[in-house]
């Protein structure tokens, strides 16, 4: 494979992220929120993809790395004077330290990555259902501890007065960084070894791939990216512990599965498509005017539609909207060939 060809695979996701950001820049402030949210979701879903997509092992635990990242960035960037108001029991060094925007994001990533590495050391020995349940256990433990251990954060309180530095530009830059890292990883020899192990564990072992080590590396890297995304998230809206628990786990898994879990392109498409749908429905819940008639759907319709869609995709098209494939020249060409009159013979 020549370099330009492989770059198409990066160009697809990058173009989508940039396009979302550009469209977001032209709309009103109240609509812009949805675009920022969608871009943060891209970061989280791509972080999840780095592990789940490349290894083929399901993880219900990644939102705990998002939560740890959010906690790290949030606690460290609230102005010192305002910490006692909603975090009165903090450890001394957390109470007395406040860092800027970028350092807080880096620290969020490091916190998520280190946590994922520590968790992964034992857990990556498991596979299949045991692995799925064990990552779920990690989510439960993290949620439980962050909810009640008030020395490391606000506990049940909401993260108020975190500087809201995740604007459209930062959300887009963050998503681009995460996408670029994910791309670099899956093109690296580590990424390729892990993908080989996903396709055929026995054959990969036979040619000397240590599945445990490759999974651990991917887990730690995706923990780092998830932590970073958590940092972006807490700088975007006042987060509360239940905002980084089951619902977010579900919605990000849904995005990944709907888009196509085995490709970066699928992760980005899924995150943006579901976010778009979600935003339209969220608007509809507060009343929306289409063609002069006003519609009003009951609150909670979003989750109904998204979960029905996810079940439908899994039944009808288990490999997701993109078929779990990267965007390539060939697929673009095929799309163009199909477009004019769509003769069946022309598409192989």
């Amino acid at each position: 494979m020549t370099l330009p060809r492989s770059l198409v695979q990066l160009a697809g996701p990058v173009t989508l992220v940039v396009a979302a950001a550009l469209v977001g820049a032209t709309v009103s402030r109240s609509t812009e929120i949805y675009f920022i949210n969608a871009l943060v979701m891209v970061s989280i879903v791509v972080a999840l993809y780095v592990f789940v997509g490349n290894s083929g092992v399901l993880s219900f635990g990644h939102i705990s790395f998002v939560a740890v990242g959010a906690w790290a960035a949030g606690v460290l960037s609230v102005p010192e004077a305002e910490k006692p108001a909603f975090m009165p029991y903090l450890f001394g060094f957390l109470r007395d330290t406040t860092v800027g925007n970028v350092p807080s994001l880096v620290l969020a990533g490091v916190a998520g990555g280190v946590f994922a590495l520590l968790v992964g050391l034992p857990l990556m020995r498991l596979s299949g259902l045991a692995a799925g349940i064990a990552t779920f256990a990690v989510l439960e433990i993290t949620h439980n501890v962050l909810r009640y251990y008030e020395k490391v954060g606000p506990g049940l309180n909401t993260f108020s007065s975190v500087p809201e530095t995740t604007d459209l530009q930062q959300a887009a830059l963050g998503a681009l960084v995460v996408v670029a890292v994910a791309f670099a990883y899956q093109r690296s020899r580590f990424g390729r070894q892990l993908r080989a192990a996903r396709e055929d564990p026995a054959a990969a072992r036979a040619v000397g791939v240590s599945i445990y080590r490759q999974r651990l590396a991917a887990f730690a890297l995706s923990g780092f990216l998830a932590g970073l995304a958590g940092g972006l998230y807490v700088h975007f809206l006042p987060l509360q512990i239940d905002g980084v628990y089951l619902d977010l786990t579900f919605i990000t898994l849904a995005m990944l599965v709907i888009g196509g879990a085995t490709s970066l392109w699928g992760a980005v498409v899924g995150a943006l498509a579901v976010s778009a749908l979600d935003s339209v429905l969220a608007n509809a819940e507060t009343g929306i005017e289409v063609l002069g008639r006003s519609f009003d759907v009951p609150a909670g319709t979003r989750l109904v539609v998204v979960s029905a869609l996810m079940a439908l995709v899994l039944i009808v098209r288990p490999s997701g909207l993109t078929g779990g494939k990267e965007l390539t020249f060939d697929s673009l060409r095929r799309l163009r060939a199909r477009a004019p009159s769509a003769p069946k013979e022309a598409t192989e």
Binding site: V57, L58, R125, A131, V138, E140, L314
Partner: protein, 311 residues
């Protein structure tokens, strides 16, 4: 420090052997064992972990609440609960499980995750976040005395109900031809089909049986937690799923024992942890789950064999 830990441990053990704590823990274990059987039956035949099992129980809970708010007799409420849960189970089997047959366990698990959220958000729209009250059986929460010991009636009722239900299930599995078909399907589905086991019938029966158990669990749980909300039984389901995998997914008995064990342990932790630590109950519980999974990934109560990479 050591003295402190030792005295904490002594207190814990002292509280843990209290008859009331033991009775509650056994009662909870019995309820969780019923849920484990429901999940294990479906897994045995369909190789599918039903994350949406808790939402079946939730639906049953709302049926009970509907009946109790209208002052229906208890029996009518239970009948409505059973009807709702069984119909919903069959619909789930037909619309979701059947088309998914043969896919990887992971994607089936994600699909049932989606169904769970679907049902939960429908319940949220329908009944609101505060939920409804199912109060027709709350008097079972009262204590009764056995000899010199006071235990809550529901603990005894749970244990007896679970024992009877499991005995009936064993009879069905071991003494009827559909039971034989189900056991064959659980051992080796493709071969069972080759020798004439009807796949759709077997999976429908498994799902209906699991649904009946879910209805029973709904009745037992509403006694202890009469407020039925859209997230009713969600936490319990997560814990039982962990218990089932810890016990051993591939056979019904280890899965049931796993469900009972995790219910018992969480009952003991809930009753005997000092108050300043009881909020960390799920941390202790899930740490234990991880440890056991690492030591015995193929299942705590299974014998021989070794884990095979299925995903």
């Amino acid at each position: 420090m050591n003295v402190l830990v030792a005295s904490g441990l002594t207190d814990f053990l002292h509280d843990a052997v209290e008859p009331q704590v033991q009775a509650d823990a056994i009662g909870l274990g019995a309820v969780f064992a019923l849920m484990a059987v429901g999940i294990g039956l479906v897994f045995g035949v369909l190789r599918l972990i039903n994350f949406a099992y808790g939402q079946l129980i939730m639906a049953g809970g709302f049926a009970l609440a509907y009946a109790s708010e209208r002052g229906w007799p208890v029996v009518a409420g239970i009948a409505l609960c059973v009807a709702v849960v069984v119909v919903l189970s069959l619909a789930m089997e037909r619309v979701v499980f059947r088309p998914l047959r043969g896919q990887s366990p992971a994607s089936m698990l994600v699909a049932t995750f989606a169904v769970a959220f679907l049902l939960q958000s429908i319940a949220l729209i329908w009944f609101g976040p505060l939920g409804k009250n199912a109060a027709s059986l709350v008097e079972l929460n009262q204590p009764m005395s056995i000899g010199s010991v006071e235990v809550r009636k529901i603990a005894v009722v749970s244990l007896v109900t679970a024992a009877v239900a499991l005995a009936l299930l064993l009879l069905l599995l071991n003494r009827t031809s559909i039971g034989l078909h189900m056991r064959a399907a659980a051992l080796d589905f493709p071969t069972a089909r080759l020798v004439g086991v009807r796949a759709n019938a077997v999976s429908a029966v498994a799902v209906v049986l699991a649904g009946l158990l879910a209805a029973i669990v709904a009745v037992l749980l509403t006694v202890q937690f009469p407020t039925v909300t859209p997230t009713f039984a969600l936490n319990e389901t997560i814990i039982v799923l962990a218990g089932v995998v810890v016990g051993g997914m591939n056979r019904l008995l280890p899965a049931t024992l796993g469900g009972f064990a995790i219910g018992y342990v969480s009952g003991i932790l809930g009753g005997a942890l000092p108050t300043n630590q009881s909020q960390y109950l799920s941390t202790f519980l899930f740490l234990l789950v991880i440890v056991v999974l690492l030591l015995r990934p193929e299942g705590l109560f299974t014998r021989g064999g070794h884990a095979v990479e299925r995903v």
